[in-house]
Point group: C2
Chain length 219, copies 2
DNA sequence: ATTTGATCGGGAATTATTCCCGTATGATGC
DNA sequence: GCATCATACGGGAATAATTCCCGATCAAAT
């Protein structure tokens, strides 16, 4: 990376791209700015231009931001990605960082931070929005804890968890999976136990917060 | 409104404001553009500058977009508001329109639509994003239907609904409201009946989708 | 071959929910 | 005032859901 920094902006909101671009162009450290409104073309543009930094939204139609991050990093493990998202929930930050991004900014950040983050990351550093960093510091938070707990579910339990999360009754789940109602009841008890909750409603809300949406078919 | 159109942008994301402003400035029909990042100052700026059109985000910290719309319309019933939101769920559109806005755009709209919408509304028209208009057309959708159903709940039932929606058990609700567990059970049955659902999980999810968050205290 | 983890479900006790019932209260209309 | 109606509350008995403890089965790992 010699000379000016080149940036690839990936966001399905044209308005956001334009706004971000405007700020980037205020800095003389930053040169070319490429844009993409979808994940698929982002990968192509990355290979074509080899930008120093990729600024990316998480919630996009199609394969979504996380999957895009994964694909970019497969192509180039040294790819420098800065997430620019509306989500300030720790779970998103944690996931993104785990996925291998170099920075995380929320969309209502002070514009000056945008430049700071982009140049910092281009220079090989990392950047997490101050407010988020603080949250991350006092880790082991509820969200993360729950994430860990969900991982404790066996595959089958997870399937049942997903169906219950949609508001289905234990009986409906049993019918759909062709098992005894008793089995689902027993599983349900175990699941709630592992997740540290007491009602199926909590289960539904929890799954909802975590954006868990796996589809399960009967065998 | 003679001469150029003046616009007040209300959005807590500086990036979005900048992007939108950039587009507005491309049109020679549009003159002054004022900006605000919060609801409170938006009302002041509106009275100060009397802009022809207010472009507003819905999800903002503080009193929120809907409340801001209400306040603006109290001050000036002819205030022309264009909502510019990430939410494309019909329920938001319906609420906004019911609140009295003149237009609704989603943030990933084609930039050309922004100008079209702003100028159209300034001229006294209305503008709803094409995709949303179509959705609206086939009204009486689930969301709207549910909204109607929720209205059928008695005040007390609604309180209980809100508590159950948080994932609390019937027993916890009973304790909190100082009534018999039996009562809450009976109410719960009635509520599910009125809402056309079968499980408390569905209730929780439904309330969640509708963003129902009333706080209820014991007496 | 044995252990381990996962899945499935029965039996009996417990708990939750339903359905139907009656009471009480406050607002509305005549 | 008095009837009426909607609302809130909750009991009793039947029914359904859930728990807890148990054993069976199977596949993969050691």
């Amino acid at each position: 990376m010699s000379g000016k920094i080149s940036v690839l902006l990936v966001d399905d909101h044209a308005v956001v791209r334009t706004g971000f671009k405007t700020y980037l162009e205020l800095s003389e450290k930053i040169g070319a700015v490429f844009e993409s409104d979808r994940c698929e073309s982002a990968c192509r543009l990355y290979e074509l231009h080899q930008p120093d930094v990729v600024v990316m939204d998480l919630s996009m139609p199609g394969i979504g931001g996380f999957e895009t991050i994964r694909r970019l990093l497969i192509r180039d493990p040294h790819c420098k990605i800065l997430v620019f998202s509306i989500h300030d929930e720790l779970i998103y930050v944690a996931r993104a960082i785990k996925a291998g991004v170099k920075g995380y900014l929320v969309k209502n950040s002070d514009p000056e931070l945008l430049i700071t983050a982009v140049t910092g990351i281009a220079a090989g550093g990392t950047f997490v929005a101050p407010a988020l960093a603080q949250k991350l510091a006092m880790s082991a938070t509820d969200e993360v804890l729950q994430e860990q707990r969900i991982k404790q579910l066996t595959p089958r339990e997870f399937d049942i968890f997903c169906l219950l999360a949609k508001g289905k009754s234990t009986r409906e789940v049993a019918d759909q999976l062709f098992v005894s109602h008793k089995t689902v009841c027993n599983n349900s008890t175990t699941i709630k136990d592992k997740l540290g909750i007491k009602t199926l409603s909590e289960l539904a809300l929890l799954a909802n917060r975590h954006g868990i949406v796996k589809e399960v078919e009967g065998r």
